[in-house]
């Protein structure tokens, strides 16, 4: 059974492909635990989640997912080094207060990090801004500037530069536009970027 058919999110399908059988997985901002529950059944992973929303945490617990209700940025320090094989940050890095701290912590507590983020470099975002003269508002970034949870905007190029600067090693990079995988001109064409990477050796 395909994960995107079950969960309706293409990035979940990609993430599930990156994770091998039986891995230890921590999902930061795991929501209602749908991805972790799927991974537990289909990949027999040891699944843990962190989620701030009380309502979503209750749904996750009711479906049998190990989840900690708390702020993901504050929660990271308590985990021991290399406690997980994969630490997932799915479409929330742009909502974190200190993204670089979060990313470094992910690589401290996990052997690999998986980060998926909406690409602010997508042509529709740029065009929307250019034509409207306002903060971009698109399907990918549907919020008004004053009520957006997104506090850090980044593009594929931005992320590549950070990875290079930090000396992180990218194992896989995947770019999505709607249901399709993008290969050429990702900074311009990708709506969602997904990176699997690990720290310097």
């Amino acid at each position: 059974m395909n994960v995107s058919e079950v969960l309706g999110r293409r990035d979940y399908a990609i993430i599930s492909q990156l994770i091998p059988e039986g891995a230890r997985v921590l999902d930061l901002g795991c929501g209602d635990g749908a991805l972790l529950a799927w991974l537990k059944v289909n990949k027999r992973v040891e699944a843990r989640g962190v989620e701030l929303s009380r309502d979503l945490v209750q749904v996750a617990i009711a479906r049998g997912v190990t989840v900690y209700q708390g702020d993901l940025e504050a929660s990271l320090a308590d985990y021991p080094d290399q406690a997980f094989d994969f630490v997932i940050l799915s479409q929330t890095v742009q909502e974190t207060r200190h993204p670089l701290v979060v990313l470094k912590e992910m690589l401290r507590i996990g052997r690999h990090a998986i980060v998926a983020f909406p690409n602010f470099g997508h042509w529709r975002v740029g065009l929307n801004h250019l034509l409207s003269g306002r903060a971009p508002k698109t399907g990918l970034f549907p919020f008004e500037w004053y009520d957006s949870p997104n506090i850090h905007f980044l593009t594929v190029i931005d992320f590549e530069e950070l990875v290079a600067k930090q000396g992180w090693q990218v194992d896989r990079r995947l770019f999505l536009s709607g249901p399709s995988v993008v290969t050429a001109l990702p900074n311009w064409r990708a709506e969602i970027a997904i990176y699997l990477f690990h720290g310097p050796a």
Partner: protein, 373 residues
């Protein structure tokens, strides 16, 4: 379904203070059926003034103290689980305590009863579990002092517990918690009828015990739940008495609860059990709480409540963070409730959903004692 209280006898138990207590009775109740593999046992730990009657109704028609959580189709579903609850050591509801007769003297122990700890309570329960031939518990669950016993189980008998559910509790009593208990103890011991604890057969220290209970009740509720329940409403009157009679509804309620308590609880048990709670510090003897919990092998579901100021959420978070720092399988949720510390007893809707889901997983992932070894 009438719940019958059963008893088991044990020759002796050596306590943390070095004293060996002899001829011990444990009162317990069970609900549901033990499965063939004996792998569906859930031990329920009662809070301070609770007893073995956790579910069903007794011969007087009184429902168990957690009947809304335990029963067919409930969170602790007796159609699937064999649920067990025992009165704690030092209690006054069937298990040996200060009101029991000392076999050496033929008279009630009173204050000659040895000082007890949460760890002593749990070791006595382990004797009961062994006596019943249960190799490993599916879960141990309880709120408040019940939660302390749950934590003690996790550390004292790590291989004997698949899952731990410490609810609205703490890994150590704080100064504030000790202070409230001491206030209750002083109320009891200051009652002229207390007679150094040797009041059996005479007048009970009823005033002191009921004042202690009144203080307790205040700490179990929240400012909000008290405003909702009583506000400033007057009791059966239009105007103030300008005397010391009951004016307010809340005064009447506290007096009623205090008086009612005297009929069902022993003052010496109050003293001994509150001391056991005050002594409780899971980290004692270890460099840290995390180091103490390192030995645990259970999965954990920790629950706290937003308005609980007696056992505030930060105390649950300390437990959870210590468990996370040792990479334990710990699930934590702070449920929203206005009911204060009482929430785990009365506001059980959301608690039911998460306990049910958590237990179902623990059944699926149950590791038998043989598999663990």
């Amino acid at each position: 379904m009438i719940a019958e209280t059963q008893t088991a006898q044990f020759d002796s138990l050596t306590l943390d203070n070095g004293v060996t207590l002899r001829d011990i009775t444990v009162a317990y109740e069970t609900y549901g059926a033990l499965n063939a593999a004996r792998s569906n046992v859930i031990l329920i730990e009662h809070a301070f003034t609770g007893d073995a009657h956790a579910a069903g109704i007794d011969h007087e028609g009184k429902p168990g103290w957690w009947a809304n959580m335990i029963g067919p189709g409930k969170a602790f579903d007796t159609d699937h689980y064999f649920v067990l609850c025992a009165n704690v050591l030092g209690g006054c509801r069937g298990t040996t305590g200060p009101s029991s007769v000392n076999p050496a003297t033929g008279r009630p122990y009173g204050l000659t009863f040895p000082g007890i700890t949460i760890s002593d309570m749990v070791r006595l329960q382990k004797l009961l579990i062994d006596h019943l031939g249960i190799p490993k518990l599916l879960a141990v669950a309880g709120g408040s002092m019940g939660g302390m016993q749950v934590l003690e189980w996790a550390v004292a008998f790590p291989d004997s517990v698949e899952a731990c559910l410490p609810i609205a509790t703490t890994a150590r009593h704080s100064a504030q918690q000790i202070a409230f208990n001491e206030t209750g103890r002083q109320a009891i011991m200051g009652d002229p009828d207390f007679q150094s604890g040797d009041y059996y057969g005479g007048a009970l220290p009823a005033r002191g015990l009921s004042v202690a209970r009144m203080v307790g009740h205040i700490t179990y509720m929240s400012d909000e739940s008290m405003r909702e329940k009583f506000g400033r409403r007057l009791r059966d009157r239009q105007d103030f008495s300008y005397g010391m009679d009951v004016d307010f509804e809340v005064e009447s309620y506290l007096r009623y609860r205090g008086n009612q308590f005297v009929g069902r609880f022993d003052a010496n048990s109050y003293l001994y059990i509150t001391k056991a709670m005050d002594y409780f510090d899971l980290a004692s003897g270890f460099p840290s709480l995390a180091a103490a919990l390192e030995r645990a092998r259970s999965r954990f579901l920790v629950i706290s409540f937003t308005s609980d100021w007696l056992y505030p959420s930060y105390q649950s978070q300390e437990i959870v963070n210590a468990l996370r720092s040792r990479n334990h399988d710990v699930t934590y949720c702070e449920l929203s409730s206005n009911y204060g510390h009482d929430a785990f007893l009365v506001d059980v809707g959301e608690q039911t959903e998460i306990v049910r889901g958590f237990l179902a997983r623990c059944v699926r992932e149950f590791r038998s004692l043989e598999a663990v070894r």
